[in-house]
Symmetry: C4
């Protein structure tokens, strides 16, 4: 911890600490994670900081206070623990996708199954057209330890409407305008990965025509939910 | 909000608000929904109104007060939020099926899997004969935004004993004499969609002869449960 | 209600009411049932009575007081509700299998999948050898409304070590020395039906030699658990 | 109970009693066990003792006081109940693997599915490379009642980086530096057994090159988590 944060950034950091800590409960609730795998981060508005889960800490023990605050280079600014071992990937996304306010990583079961085959999830459900606007793409195999995972995420997502990418042989990274939107994308990714897997086990899928996918995606992104 | 509701309709609306809000918990309990997907509505007896979930609101936050009251044309009469984005489909069902008192929509996993193949669920379990009286039928692919989904639901269900329809590439709509019966049909639909999917993954299904299906359906609809 | 029960049978009935009501929670916990499907019964020691779930009542509402007491002919002796619609099958088992003190019926998912193919679950797990002593057998297709289901259960189980039978196109009936043992058999039946289904989806099963099955079954029935 | 334990060993035993009792809740939470199947044990540091679950007792009823303390030969030193019927296997592992401080046994579903085919789980996920360093191996078919299961566990694990072994037609045994680490291995074993099963149902798996598996394993064992 090398910096003192105060003023409006202090308040923003503390608000994001509360949000990010609480959102991890959604990963547990929707069974996207086991043990300490998986993590949520959120960019701190009006700053070059983000808040992320500590490494190797159990979900039941997460509190706003135990969250780690990092710079966009992944350097720890506040935190008693080490940050998530996936911090470099989150940081890379924040540096290269300024519109992204939240990042989530999971090893959710059905998404990992597609990832272990390096196969995109085809868009055959209207809910998937709504949320993903097409298939959920596959990113490259990349080892942890440098920027390879971050590069793979950004390179894959910049060519896709999808807010989630299946990193080959690894798991899901999802993004959103804030941490909650990224968690929603992670939840929906597993949900459609499961439904489409099961659908295809039973026979031929019926495709949705691309222009119908386009119409569904446009409407959902613009008119759904409370205004 | 353009009308003031009072007298006996006031009481009926408030009763249905309580029922519809509470029934959403069954969708969560039986894991028929994730995030804010899915919705329950109930017709208000003695009126041309129905009560439905607000759009994009989380299940944990639903209360009787947050429910939306609509006319049978889907116009909002009471409610601070927008109604479910599926309101037009619910309204169409209530206008064209006067015996229906409740409608449920979900994207439950196994039902969606059959829907993504546009394949009816064959009736190979006695519990399915009891509740559905035959296969669970598939309705047409239809985009949201006009009456196409409502038309597809009504056209499919009017030729079937089934209280549930798998809308192609979309999900389930179920109906009942009231909202609780429609929820039961949605729960049973996913249950049999799952059992029959798994059954067929293991080999050839044994059919139930049609006259036995007829006998089971007749008995269940007429003598089961508390009189 | 035509009889007054008192003395030691009164106490025994009340004890079994408590046990049978509580055991239904295990069906819910292990997800063997949805909505109001499934039922547990228990013979009242020292009498010609058994206690069973009321028909069509939700699991959350079951209390010792709402249980139904029946004669071994299935006639209601105590109870405000109708007894389970499966009461005749339970009664038939009690009349023809005097060693049986508990009966359970479910439509649990994986067991139903085998039942919809009329295929016994092969014994390829030591836990299955322990509890079932061989395959879980399939009983005949039978309609509700007379003794056909009861006859099918008894005829199938009398030639088997298994405490559970998969009734074709229907579901599971399990038995035990008391209601708790029958519930355990229903839980284990679904557990092994699931594991063996999944095993076979992945390739060839390795059989367990019959004499090893015999050794495992003998040991488990005689030495396992607290003496 | 033939010995009186006091002094620092008394404190160590009581500490391990608390840990082992509590860790069984993780088996329930991650649905690795049904009814009374499955068990956790932990070596008592500074002694030739270990603590294990009593046989045939339900998970909800486990307390630190109901745990059983055994010598490394599996003889009961403290305990009102019989020890787990798998005690001999745990004891054999402690005698022959001095670095092991915890052992877990489950019949978790997907692991049993691979075990029923005597097929190792291939290493196609980075999380699996991290934790298992390669495939999860299969141990021999062995009957309970002597040291055959223990021998099979030790012979299989000594040639593997994996902290878990799939005993053929039986289930999982996992090990760790303490009981918590062994529980983690059991949880991760089921998680990857499930993901890889589902992956392969959908088509060809993409292998991870062995040197990448080696790099991932090395990093995870040495730098992950809180220092």
């Amino acid at each position: 911890m090398t910096t003192t944060i105060d003023g409006p950034v202090r308040e923003a950091v503390d608000r994001v600490r509360v949000q990010v800590a609480a959102l991890h409960a959604q990963l547990v609730r929707y069974e996207l994670v086991v043990w300490t795998a998986g993590n949520v981060s959120g960019r701190v508005p009006g700053s070059d900081l983000f808040v992320i889960k500590p490494s190797g800490v159990e979900y039941d023990e997460l509190t706003p206070e135990s969250m780690i605050v990092c710079t966009l280079d992944g350097e720890v600014v506040e935190g008693e623990h080490s940050p998530s071992s996936d911090t470099a990937a989150h940081a890379y996304v924040y540096r290269h996708m300024p519109e992204v306010g939240g990042v989530v990583h999971t090893h959710s079961t059905y998404a990992c199954a597609w990832a272990a085959r390096a196969e995109p999830v085809p868009c055959v459900l209207t809910a998937m057209a709504d949320e993903f606007g097409g298939p959920i793409p596959v990113g490259p195999f990349a080892l942890i330890g440098n920027d390879d995972i971050g590069i793979g995420i950004v390179e894959t997502l910049k060519d896709s409407r999808s807010p989630a990418v299946l990193m080959q042989n690894h798991g899901v990274f999802s993004i959103g305008k804030d941490a909650k939107a990224a968690v929603k994308a992670a939840v929906m990714c597993e949900d459609v990965a499961r439904s489409v897997h099961i659908a295809r086990q039973g026979g031929e899928l019926v495709p949705i025509p691309q222009d119908d996918i386009d119409r569904l995606y446009d409407r959902y992104q613009n008119v759904y939910g409370q205004r």
